[in-house]
């Protein structure tokens, strides 16, 4: 137990000596300019990211808009514009009957 205690004491003393042995660090004259250089560099990279993401967002919005327009046009052109009866009436194929098709009696010669 006393061995443990004396070891703890030696360790505490060692840590005290360590505190005194560590030199005061003042930093060079370039410390503050260096901090500002880093701040500016980080700010530039953040701005670059923001600009790039804005551009990507704008491009995505434009693509979505174009896609919407194209899709809308395609849907509109494939839909029938007239009603079913009008479509039948307009269809010429029914007027040109096949020669072998049935005709009323009066028309036969």
């Amino acid at each position: 137990m006393s061995l443990e205690n004396s070891r703890e004491e030696r360790f505490n003393r060692l840590m005290g000596d360590y505190r005194d042995a560590c030199p005061e660090v003042e930093g060079s004259a370039d410390f503050m300019p260096g901090v500002w250089r880093r701040i500016e560099a980080r700010r530039r990279s953040v701005f670059a990211w923001a600009r790039m993401s804005r551009q990507v967002l704008a491009a995505a919005a434009a693509i979505c808009f174009l896609f919407g327009v194209v899709l809308n046009t395609a849907i509109n052109s494939s839909l029938p514009v007239s009603s079913y009866v009008e479509a039948l009436d307009d269809d010429d194929a029914l007027d040109q009957l096949h020669p072998a098709s049935y005709l009323p009696d009066g028309d036969r010669e």
Binding site: R7, E8, R10, F11, N12, L14, M15, D17, Y18, R19, D20, A21, C22, P23, E24, V25, E26, G27, S28, F31, M32, G34, V35, R38, I39, R42
Partner: protein, 194 residues
């Protein structure tokens, strides 16, 4: 606190002059803390700059200027963690890794009393660093803040955002692990006092 709450408030609102004054006020203390946390003088300035850049970009998240110091300590500890994690992949030769003969040669070169004192301090630093290097980064940082920086439990509570009991348990365990490594190095005659 080394600065007024009003100065912190101004820096929060984007006043660069106020921010500069805060950096000037805390620069020495933070660099000293980093020096003890990472143990590599050549990288202290780099990590210090990173801390103050993080401070610049996170100041607007600080709700009360009164908790500025624990906040800054937290940023410092996180930057030190990041550095230590990166360094784990890049082992370098340090004084404690040199052979005994190389250390004796270095000793012999240092003739004057001041030089001898410098060497003694350097040996202590290297020994403690190697001791702390034998435990996890979390233990290392926690013990350095408590034992070398002299932070109180209350201050550590503010830095770590955990209650006192949890902190005491963590400290006790961390201390036990380092003491184990200390006993081993004493047994091997590696201690600077040996």
């Amino acid at each position: 606190m080394l600065v007024e709450a009003e100065l912190i408030q101004r820096a929060k609102q984007g006043d660069d002059q106020a921010y500069n004054q805060i950096v000037q006020a805390y620069r020495r203390r933070i660099l000293g803390t980093i020096s003890r946390l990472i143990g590599r003088p050549e990288d202290v300035e780099d990590v210090g700059q990173e801390v103050f850049v993080r401070l610049y970009y996170s100041l607007d998240q600080l709700r009360e200027p009164e908790i500025f110091e624990p906040w800054l300590y937290r940023l410092t500890v996180n930057a030190a963690y990041d550095y230590l994690r990166k360094q784990r992949r890049r082992p370098e030769a340090r004084m404690s890794d040199l052979s005994e003969q190389q250390v004796m040669l270095a000793d012999a070169d240092a003739g004057t009393l001041a030089q001898r004192e410098d060497i003694r301090k350097s040996k202590i630093r290297d020994f403690v660093q190697s001791l702390l290097g034998s435990v996890s980064e979390e233990d290392r940082v926690l013990l350095t803040l408590k034992e070398a920086e002299g932070l109180s439990l209350k201050q550590l509570e503010d830095v770590y955002h955990v209650n006192e009991n949890a902190l005491k348990v963590r400290l006790f365990r961390a201390r036990q692990r380092v003491l184990k490594a200390f006993a081993k190095s004493e047994g091997a005659g590696e201690s600077p006092g040996a």
